[in-house]
Assembly symmetry: C2
Homo-oligomer: 367 residues x 2
């Protein structure tokens, strides 16, 4: 496709190629030379990626559980600087620092106006065939005005790393907390001690939950859960975990449960620890099918199941305000940093649970 | 067990036996001589049943899909006159006309105070082993103060028949509508043209839904759906029904979906016709397991699943006010009437879909 000439040219100092992460199959993630992104539509922008990261959901593709076409780009969380904009773009300009949610969307359709940007009819996921992924030097952003959130100028690196987490993991934790109906003074259980679960703890704490029970057994992760606001840690799993959570809650279970894994067992546990009349907010990409959804138990106890792919674009402004105010900091979920060449190793580290969540700096720079 | 002497004696004019409906197995429902109910606990009342009915959920037992011990009583919807009360009962007295929800509850526990009477720790279902069923001459009512709703004196039979529907079917339709998030001006789809589905239509209309799409293909039932407020009737099923509902809603589906069947296919259809970000309110006793719960579809489109056994006790006062004000009349769901001896035939008629819902007059009386 021929590129539309940018309204402003502030090109990176390369030839027509850049480096980006490409997935070929299970355990086969490579960093390769790919064409530089160019403006294709007048609503596009090209963003130079300064901060990206690897998501737990990328591991489903890495493990081969979620199918990918060989050669697809990968990575859906990024923050960077606008390099060029199409003729229709008015909300951002070259030089602006921006954060992208993990789904692009036009910002003007009925769903976007309602705050469900993930259902925008022209929306899409970074890395889907024909699009760039976040784990690369630059990204062509469709519907730049609808998709990107402009950041204040002059932010330091530490602030940018916090804000990077809003692109997915923190927004997803927040979505789970809302879907689970977390309320001030309530009791929350969080199934899953990955980065999303930990951000669910942080989101529940932010929303005023009084008691937050984190289910997990990895010391570093449960320590972070406590730092994020967990009041109790339950290392048990399955039926034992259900029994312990019930014991901790006077036999009743938790008003709100965050399911942040996506397996049959995690869903079964989440429903099992919910209090009658409560809700499970599920954000773990469901790879367990519905076998863990005990509909008879849900029916008898009026337990609701709510959630899904988080409309991060809807949440970023509110969460960003808290980050800028200094009251919200999800950045401790990043416990390793790599350059672009280190991305395949980052996948392996996360897959082996040696890293919780890996920060990627495509253009280098120390933490 | 020895009975506690009633504080007031206004006994029925029989010996120590009465007639009640007993289930022995699939298609084996009998009306038999059983002991008269007597007060056992100080919080009990004995109610002489003037109006009862047969529920679609009774058919699950009748068909053998839901297990029952041979000899269990059956019937969980009734209205009648208080005959005697235990020493602790203060809210009703002999001679009062009362309606019972389909679950008894103490009215004072945490769940009852929250309006989730179906989760009362000492609650139970009429007909469970050791209890009376509604399809009989009289019922011992545990926790009479918490369970029974006293009606104004002097109501005519037509009003009482309307109020009988609040014991389950109308309250369940209302629960489904609330669980589905029906809102003024919204679009609702109702899966199931049984009495609960039809009451779901009526409940959605009462809550101000602008468009109500009833899925059903039986002329008499869809006619009643239209009378209750349905604006559209879709006779198709399964994927075809999903396609038609989407076509009727500009491709989007319904904001709120009422699932009033409980099979795998009905659940699949309900989720399929929901608009992104919408909710399915499910009240059909789930006999299809979770196979119809497409968790991947729910995830991608943020469709919620909420509902369960309806806390009718919480809803009766509000719905009763509307019946008494003349703005709510669910009684057209009753399309046949029998005396107690006609109950087995009533089951057969409903099972053969020759009757929608059968009214039972244990002590006779014409409609």
């Amino acid at each position: 496709m021929a590129g539309i000439p940018p309204t402003t040219a502030e090109r990176r100092d390369y030839d027509d190629h850049m480096h980006a992460t490409v997935i070929y199959g299970p355990h086969d993630v490579r960093v390769e030379d790919v064409p530089d992104p160019v403006l294709v539509h007048p609503a596009d922008a090209v963003v130079r990626v300064t901060h990206a990261c690897i998501c737990g959901s990328d591991l489903w593709a890495y493990q081969g559980v979620a199918a990918r076409e060989p050669g697809q780009r990968i990575g859906h969380e990024f923050l960077g600087v606008v390099e060029s904009t199409g003729a229709d773009v008015t909300g951002v300009k070259p030089g602006d620092t921006v954060v992208a949610p993990f789904v692009w969307s036009d910002g003007v359709c009925e769903f976007c106006r309602e705050g469900l940007h993930t259902s925008c009819p022209v929306g899409g996921f970074w890395g889907q065939p024909g699009s760039d992924g976040g784990q690369g030097e630059a990204v062509r952003v469709p519907y730049a005005d609808g998709t990107l959130v402009k950041l204040p100028s002059g932010l330091g690196d530490a602030e940018l790393v916090k804000i990077l987490a809003l692109s997915d993991v923190m927004s997803t934790g927040h979505h789970a907390a809302l879907a689970a109906g977390v309320r001030r003074g309530g009791t929350v259980a969080v199934v899953g001690d990955g980065a999303v679960g930990l951000c669910g703890v942080l989101a529940a704490h932010r929303l005023g939950a009084e008691r937050i029970i984190a289910l997990g057994r990895h010391d570093a992760r449960t320590a972070l859960a406590r730092r994020f606001g967990a009041t109790d840690v339950v290392p048990e799993r399955g039926d034992e975990a259900i029994a312990v959570v019930r014991e901790l809650t006077g036999g009743q279970g938790a008003h709100a449960v965050i399911e942040a894994v996506g397996t049959e067992q995690s869903m079964r546990t989440a429903i099992g620890v919910a209090r009658d009349g409560g809700a499970v907010g599920f954000v773990g990409v469901p790879h367990g099918g519905s076998a863990g959804v005990d509909i008879g138990d849900m029916f008898g106890r009026n337990v609701a199941l709510r959630g899904g792919v988080a409309p991060a674009r809807a949440y970023i402004p509110e969460l960003l305000a808290d980050v800028l105010a200094g009251t919200l900091d999800p950045s401790p979920v990043f416990d390793a940093t790599v350059g672009l060449d280190g991305v395949p190793g980052g996948y392996a580290a996360m897959n082996d649970r040696k890293a919780l969540k890996v920060l990627v700096r495509p253009h280098g720079g120390a933490v």
